[in-house]
């Protein structure tokens, strides 16, 4: 009897800590609890128009990599015309679909681990516009020498996640799946 109470208390404590940051329906919480499949990265992109339009110049970033407020700021006609120095305009209807897809699947709407991490960290403060500038992401890549990124013809920018993260399209960013182009033995160079 006593054990059961403890168990329930422990699980509830965790549930509470999650729900304080998650405006998530309870049913989704329980679906996540009983789902045994791995959800350690971010949810892969499932929307065709998003994949096509936003995967044109760079890999189509999963919406779970930024909070909704960031997608709100990035995905409007004005912002897309001046999209990091490029013109990424799309027609109105497509934009609405892409916007809604991104916002509905933003970090705080996801139970995937890395999305949850990003959601917790961006809950307060201004909307980040770059994934690479999130504290979590920049910290993870802090020690990679410039020559492996900007100076590397196979990468060129940290924004091109899929160049190094071989399973980025599946939403998997584990360090064990990293293969830096032209630096097959990168591991141990800068980590630790």
């Amino acid at each position: 009897m006593m054990q059961k109470k403890w168990k329930i208390a422990a699980i509830l404590a965790v549930a509470l800590s999650l729900s304080s940051t998650y405006a998530m329906a309870e049913e989704y919480f329980w679906l996540w609890v009983v789902n045994p499949s791995r959800q350690k990265g971010v949810k892969p992109v499932t929307d065709k128009p998003y994949q096509n339009e936003c995967g044109e110049c760079h890999f189509a970033y999963q919406p779970g990599l930024l909070p909704a407020k960031s997608w709100e700021a990035l995905l409007n006609a004005d912002a897309l015309r001046k999209h990091f120095g490029a013109n990424a305009e799309v027609d109105k209807d497509t934009l609405r679909g892409i916007h809604d897809y991104a916002v509905d699947n933003a970090a705080e709407k996801s139970f995937y681990k890395r999305a949850r991490k990003i959601a917790v960290a961006t809950e307060e403060g201004p909307a980040p516009l770059r994934i690479t500038e999130l504290r979590y992401i920049s910290r993870k890549h802090h020690d990679i020498p410039e020559k492996m990124i900007k100076g590397n013809p196979g990468v060129k920018s940290l924004s091109f996640c899929d160049k190094c993260h071989t399973q980025a399209a599946q939403g998997v960013y584990d360090a064990d799946t990293v293969n830096i182009p032209n630096y097959p033995n990168w591991d141990g160079w800068f980590s630790k």
Binding site: P153, D187, W189
Partner: protein
């Protein structure tokens, strides 16, 4: 006799810990082969021979160039051929954690009935068995594996633990719940092993196991 059993359990614990340490040492060995910038140029000469590397040196930092990315890419190992390695410290941590949960389940399954709390029969004249039973062996193995899990976690995921992210950060919660769970299980084993009368240590141990399960789920 008691002493020998203790020694054997200690040895088991140490070898488990050493096993986890060995994976680490393995990584370190790679470090030793490729430690300096200078050796990079001798090892990875491919990138020097690659014409695109030389071309790239003349390219500006302009964004449109970067955007053209895929066309001018000449990776030595195409991503498709890359296979994530099997034996990594992070994998060791994962399997040790899962193994701990399996052992904890077996330990609970072999428990010799609830410790008595009310209406206890008079304690038998037989001394209480705290070693040699399946339950006690499994319990010690669970505790040793839990300790090894925490150790590998500290080694391989140290850079995932940042208190500045707050305690609701999934990785921080994972580390704290996992460590607390391991400590609770160690405490339960220790409490029971030291006692000459049946103790109710099941609740503590189970809470520890639940904490570990929740920790795993949080970052699964």
């Amino acid at each position: 006799m008691k002493c020998r059993v203790k020694f054997r359990n200690m040895a088991a614990g140490i070898s488990l810990a050493a096993l986890s340490g060995m994976v680490y040492a393995d990584d370190m060995a790679v470090n030793l082969i490729l430690p300096t910038d200078a050796s990079f140029y001798t090892h990875n000469f491919q990138s020097l021979k690659s014409p695109s590397y030389l071309l790239a040196a003349n390219e500006g930092e302009a964004v449109p160039d970067a955007v053209k990315g895929p066309a001018s890419v000449a990776p030595v190992i195409p991503a498709a051929e890359f296979k994530p390695p099997m034996f990594t410290g992070r994998n060791a941590h994962k399997y040790l954690g899962l193994g701990t949960i399996v052992l904890a389940g077996l330990t609970a399954a072999t428990a010799p009935g609830e410790a008595c709390e009310t209406n206890c029969p008079p304690p038998s004249s037989q001394p209480r068995q705290t070693s040699g039973t399946a339950h006690s062996r499994l319990a010690r193995a669970t505790a040793a594996m839990a300790a090894a899990t925490v150790m590998t976690g500290l080694l391989y995921h140290w850079d995932d633990f940042h208190m500045e992210d707050g305690w609701t950060d999934p990785d921080n919660l994972h580390a704290m719940l996992g460590t607390a769970g391991a400590l609770l299980m160690l405490y339960a084993v220790d409490k029971s092993a030291k006692s000459t009368v049946p103790t109710s240590h099941a609740a503590t141990a189970e809470l520890g196991a639940v904490a570990m399960v929740v920790a795993i789920k949080l970052t699964w």
